[in-house]
């Protein structure tokens, strides 16, 4: 069965919430959001998810214009968001602009903070999220501008950077899980929490990943597995949650999941 790279990413992304138990699954930007939807639908029905505004919903809300009313099961206004995240009951997958070897990410500025070359969104809730609950990251373009050498320009979410902690010890709430890009899946289980490639998307080599990364990557022992193709069941769920095919607009030219098929 053919599938797009976006679908592969969603399929791989869904797995990050599989064993989380009853937490809020937040996916920001369309692919992570679809991943969270699939995770709830197929792997972990205890997950809490929202309508993107301020309600918890029983079933994932499809992207874009809606043909059916949402099924509300709870209230999730912003004040509640912080109450919940401060007790750690959340796993978010977000899409930062930069990440460094410590897993520190940036969505605030490119360049100097006082007078940036590019002003972005601002740190939003990244600092609080990063030290309170599990976090995973998505990068649509795996390159050295996104996976940077040195430190990110402004550290919005904390990472495993001993220089930034008293006695080098990160807070117990810091829990970085996965990074999913257009090339591969990574985790933080390399030596000293180093970022480690755990699977390569079909047709991608480790060297290509390393060449497009600003810092040295660890790798799982032995041959690096290939990111598993989405099952028919997963593809059907993805289609159900994305009836307007917004997923086809996220990655440039909507490449196939197996680049050798292109």
């Amino acid at each position: 069965m053919s599938y797009s790279l976006a679908e592969l990413i969603i399929s791989a992304g869904a797995l990050v919430w599989r064993d989380d138990g009853e937490v809020l699954a937040t996916g920001i930007t369309p692919l992570p959001r679809l991943a969270a939807s699939v995770a709830k639908s197929l792997y972990n029905p205890a997950l809490m998810i929202t309508d993107g505004e301020c309600y918890f919903v029983e079933e994932p809300v499809p992207l874009g214009p809606r043909s059916a009313p949402i099924k509300v099961e709870g209230w999730a206004p912003y004040p509640r968001t912080f109450d919940n995240l401060w007790i750690g009951k959340r796993h978010a997958m977000v899409a930062p602009v930069q990440i460094d070897r410590f897993g520190q990410t940036n969505i605030s500025v490119i360049g100097d903070h006082a007078k940036p070359k590019a002003a972005l969104l601002g740190a939003r809730g990244f600092p609080g999220n990063s030290i309170n609950h599990a976090n995973s990251y998505f990068f649509p373009s795996h390159n050295k501008r996104a996976l940077v050498a040195g430190e990110v320009d402004f550290v919005c979410s904390a990472g495993y950077n001993p220089a930034r902690y008293v006695q080098g010890k990160p807070p117990r709430g810091l829990d970085l899980r996965a990074i999913i890009t257009n090339l591969c899946v990574m985790d933080f289980n390399g030596p000293n929490k180093a970022i480690r490639v755990t699977s390569l998307h079909p047709g991608v080599s480790f060297d290509e990943v390393q060449d497009n990364t600003g810092f040295e990557l660890a790798r799982v022992e032995g041959e690096i597995p290939t990111t598993p193709a989405p099952s028919a069941e997963v593809l059907a769920e993805i289609a159900r949650f994305d009836p307007h095919n917004i997923r086809a607009t996220i990655l440039k030219d909507n490449p196939p999941g197996d680049r050798r098929a292109a």
Binding site: P45, K71, I87
Partner: protein, 296 residues
């Protein structure tokens, strides 16, 4: 691949009690004579659980646990039945030397908030200049800013379990509390490792009508451990708007503090019985529904 089973947190009163172990620190929701999880408290009295450290904005919940010897240490700012200002069983226990930690009402919820945020403490001025602050459990913290003010560091009031009574719940632990006052049930739930809930009714998620009732939804289900249906489970306290407090019963209960014999007889009749027999003994559902609105 078969889909995993949906969440179901429904259990019995005894199922809830089974989550409470001797020596735990528990918090009990509601306030004085309002929305107390009394059916659960009675079930706790029937169990072997003992040596509890208990925090509550206390009413007959505390009185009963004290009378039954379940409390090792009481954390409180008051214990009252509103119209009977001093809870008589609490008074007996206190005068017999029950160990206590006395707090200010507002400070107590602030200490719950600290626990619910996983912070070791929160600063406050509350307690300064009073005997409350003489308790060595409180430390001091100095503002690192220009003001340099010395404040009380109030330690987090962490709970092993929070016992709450709500109006409606679904099987997943999405709940509604419909009362005029919310009290601090939400902070207790966040401060607790386990949140154990009795509900007047367990209904479908759709029946909760949460799109319309969002503001009656006190906390997300991820912090709810288990739920048991307990109709009239707050009696003799109120679960307004479902029903009001039962003043006649509260007076009978208060009178049971007169002697161990009277308490034993109250206990035989109202505690060591099933919820169904309790309901019959207090006059039945219709009688409870007819209780007049309490005036404070």
């Amino acid at each position: 691949m078969s889909k995993p089973l949906p969440l179901n947190k429904v259990t019995s009163l005894d199922g809830l009690v089974g989550q409470i172990k001797s020596g735990m620190t528990i918090g009990i929701g509601g306030w004085a004579t309002r929305r107390k999880p009394m059916a659960l408290v009675r079930a706790l009295l029937r169990s072997d659980v003992k040596d509890l450290t208990v925090f509550a904005y206390g009413g007959p919940d505390i009185g009963m646990l004290a009378a039954a010897g379940k409390i090792k240490k009481l954390i409180f700012a008051f214990v009252s039945m509103d119209h009977i200002p001093i809870e008589p069983h609490f008074k007996n226990a206190r005068q017999a030397g029950l160990p206590v930690m006395e707090l200010d009402e507002g400070m107590a919820q602030w200490m719950l908030r600290a626990a619910g945020m996983r912070l070791p403490f929160l600063p406050t001025r509350v307690g300064i200049g009073t005997s409350i602050a003489d308790n060595p459990m409180f430390k001091r913290v100095t503002s690192p800013f220009e003001d340099g003010e010395e404040l009380i560091a109030a330690p987090a009031l962490k709970l092993d379990a929070a016992l709450l009574h709500v109006h409606r719940s679904d099987e997943k632990g999405n709940v509604l509390t419909l009362s005029p006052d919310t009290f601090f049930d939400d902070l207790m739930a966040r401060a607790a490792d386990k949140t154990l809930i009795t509900a007047e009714q367990i209904v479908s998620t759709a029946e909760l009508d949460l799109a319309r009732n969002a503001r009656y939804h006190p906390f997300e289900r991820a912090i709810v451990t288990a739920v048991a249906e307990a109709p009239f489970g707050a009696h003799p306290t109120s679960a307004a708007p479902d029903y009001e407090l039962d003043m006649a019963h509260l007076k009978a209960y208060a009178a049971s503090a007169e002697s161990p014999e009277v308490w034993a007889s109250y206990r035989t009749k109202y505690v060591d019985v099933s919820p169904e027999d309790y309901l019959a003994a207090v006059g039945g559902a219709d009688a409870i529904r007819k209780s007049p609105k309490a005036i404070y």
